[in-house]
């Protein structure tokens, strides 16, 4: 489970960023809320990924002041209106969008294959017939 979570964190972050630009803390909160608390990562784990994505041109980072009503994130929850230090927002680029689409497809194929393997045995074609 731990490895699965680790492997999927990048894809989940990009997916959340496709919905709207976000900053690190907000991404952690959105992940936690959207997964019903089942997906929780160390907060610090997302920053190396975000910076790596930025380096690869998959996301674009920019600073915004932490003052009220500034976030560039109209759908942000209450935490977005709190006064505080400036924040580094990330938004998905076209390159990130296409890589995310490929990754989601790959993930769904993988998940479907796992689902089929874990399905009830009577759903499996009769292999014995093939060996006569």
């Amino acid at each position: 489970m731990r490895e699965l979570k680790k492997g999927s964190l990048g894809m989940l972050l990009l997916h959340l960023l496709r919905e709207r630009p976000s900053y690190g803390y907000e991404l952690c909160e959105r992940l936690r809320v959207r997964s019903g608390g089942d997906l929780s990562f160390e907060d610090g784990a997302i920053y190396p990924l975000l910076h790596e994505f930025e380096r690869q041109g998959m996301v674009e980072g920019y600073w915004e002041s932490g003052d009220a009503g500034e976030t560039g994130d109209p759908g942000a929850s209450g935490s977005g209106s709190r006064k505080g230090p400036r924040r580094r927002f990330y938004r998905l680029t076209a390159r990130g969008e296409s890589l995310l689409a490929a990754s989601v497809t790959e993930w769904r194929t993988f998940a479907e294959a796992v689902r089929r393997v874990l399905a009830e045995p009577n759903a499996e074609p009769n292999a014995e017939l093939a060996f006569g």
């Binding site: 690190g24 160390e42 907060d43 380096r55 230090p85």
Partner: protein, 238 residues
Amino acid sequence: MNGPIDRYLEALGRRLAMPEAARAAALEEARGHLLERAASYVERGIAQGEAERIAVALFGDARRVGERLSRVFGVPWGWRRFLAGTVLGAGMAWLLWTAGSFPLLVYTFYASALPGSPPPDVGNLLIQSTPLTEGGFYAYLTAGWLWLLPLLALYLTLPCWWGRRAWRWWLPGAAYGLGGWLAVFWFPFFAFRFDGSGFAAEARLVLLALPLALLASWAGWLSRRGMRPRLDAAPAGV
């Protein structure tokens, strides 16, 4: 000041091996995150200190976070950096030898000068101090091998720093080893030519400086073990 968040950021900062601008930005980003996380707990009625401790714990081990971030911004070594390391190693070996030899030569001059002797020719002494001549070498022999210790310490500092920036394990040592030997190419000649005369024993002490510089560069590399960028750590695709 100096609460759990400040202490955590200090620890994190020590582990960030990256250009200064990127380091400052990463720390500012982490600070904002930690403060916001702590504020959310304060709003729930938790005391400030405890809220900061929780925020820090949730952020993760500073060493691990620092290593992961450093991999992203790690300094990639290639042939150009190898060449730069070689030139820098040669330049620093040259400068350190000259800077260490010059005061010794001046001291030796005054120690052996007769009363009423003319003052030393500074330009000539400076030339004698460079690795091109034997002046510095003789000065070290005259003054005793203990004088070599500060020189050795200087020889270790920069390679160690340079090694911390290295990517592949063999690059820092190789670059500095080659550079250092190029700068003072005549060391082995002196060390072995006079073998048996009592001269070679001290010469071998001088000879230690360069292998030690080489080892220091690897020590620097080892000191940031785990922070080296790994290709397989970069997300392939996503």
